[in-house]
Symmetry: C2
Subunit: 279 residues, 2 copies
């Protein structure tokens, strides 16, 4: 031990990994790093990982299937013990094929019973927003989505169509992720002859962009248009935007617990509508 000390010996972790056959590293796949939505999830994963003595290998997928696959390949190569997919583009079947190499956690409603998942019920959350609007006598409601064919978008669409069967298709705005998307959509909204009197918006950043642009264009919120965002990011509070709070940090922590656990589970995490003054 003394000799080790004097020679400033340190273990070569690669030899350890090779010998042990595992690494105590978890891979995390996120579409974007710079968006707080994913940043908060990642923070949740990271804080749980730290406690467990795990390290994180991250890949920014940009929703490119090739990137997602490359990340999943780390499982095959034994570079990571498991992977958490915060959001994906990759078909579920090919994800599932990787599960023989290690644990995979999906941050979405259960897509396959054999793959653990942690999620908020997008259908119910969207429904809650819609119901709230209805209660406030807003019936001409439009909404925004990020990827129109994404899983959570589909759930939101379903909730919407059940509530408004006769809905106009041009009251749906896609590719809504950032503040800029919000301002773009506000301009589109303002141009419409027949426009919604309420908008349920992907997340609080888009909602912020939307609200601010509406004001610049001379409209009032909620008089001319009601707004409900998602996530309950501090910016929503600052702008008095009613928002559906999603416990993203908890979701990240939970995903980590699942990835190091032996058994498969499907865990739902709660949402909560926080009412402010945009409806």
């Amino acid at each position: 031990m003394q000799a080790a000390e004097q020679l400033r010996y340190v273990k070569n972790i690669n030899a350890v990994h090779l010998s042990l056959g595992k690494t105590k590293i978890i891979g995390v796949i996120l579409p974007f790093f710079s968006h707080p939505y994913f940043g908060v999830i990642l923070g949740g994963i990271a804080s749980a990982a730290e406690k467990g003595g795990y390290k994180l290998m991250i890949t920014q997928s940009n929703y490119q299937v090739s990137q997602e696959i490359e990340a999943l390949d780390m499982l095959k190569r034994k570079q990571v013990d498991g992977v958490i997919i915060a959001s994906r583009e990759c078909p579920i079947d090919i994800v599932k094929d990787y599960s023989e190499y290690g644990k995979i956690i999906l941050c979405e409603a259960p897509a396959d019973s054999s793959l653990s998942s942690v999620f908020v019920d997008q259908y119910k959350a969207f429904q809650a927003a819609l119901a709230f609007l209805k209660q406030k006598s807003r019936t001409r409601v439009g909404y925004t989505l990020l990827r129109p064919e994404g899983k959570s978008s589909l759930a939101r669409k379903k909730a919407y169509q059940e509530q408004f069967s006769e809905a106009k298709s041009d009251w749906l705005f896609n590719n809504a992720l950032t503040v800029e998307d919000g301002t773009r959509i506000a301009r589109e909204w303002a141009e419409m002859r027949d426009r919604p009197d309420a908008m349920v918006i992907t997340n609080d950043f888009v909602a912020a962009g939307f609200l601010l642009e509406c004001r610049k264009l001379g409209f009032s919120v909620p008089e001319d248009v009601s707004i409900i965002g998602f996530d309950n990011h501090p910016i929503a509070s600052a702008l008095d935007i009613t928002s559906v709070e999603l416990p993203l940090h908890l979701l990240g922590e939970t995903a980590f617990e699942q990835v190091i656990s032996l058994d498969v589970s499907h865990l739902e995490v709660p949402f909560r509508l926080v009412d402010r003054n945009s409806v």
Copy 2:
């Protein structure tokens, strides 16, 4: 090759790493994942890393020296080929001790000539903001910092003190990072008998919180108080906040180029004041 195909052979990357003595993995140390400032830097690093076929191992330090050291230890253990420190709490001397084990890049003004760095000149950037305010006849200027003793804070303080030698110490607000910090500081500001007529604010999120809270309290921007933020995040555009743009994505890409390069360099990245309507 056919046999390999049929047996679905895949390399064990740990054996490769052990044999090669390197991993094509870069460690990244960030204080927080959920803040867009660091998210954008990380995005820049990630996009460059992907092109180079490198993977990223990240650690969220929360500015805890112990976490930073743990991340640096990955260098010793040969888990990573190099590390990028986006921001640190750890003393430079101990960082330097690790440089014998691999390349270390600092995203800050050169702290040690032997350690590569990429940075925006915080002194000049702050000076530019101050000069702009002066030009607009704002002389009672306050400012916010994140960590009062951090490197960039020190540079900002210096620029401030050179401009306003007789400055009141209570026109400096610390721990400013998030939207909430901005609203908190706005309340403190509003309570002061003798308050600044302009604020140079850590970043656009804090600036957004500050501006919005000022309005809630019945003040007008820029009539009652001018505001300059940093980063030029889209939220600044949406709120018409004048901001000093920092090319964070580029900074991240550059840091990656440096970490895989053989030689040491100190690269400055430009800033740019984008004038809007908060001054």
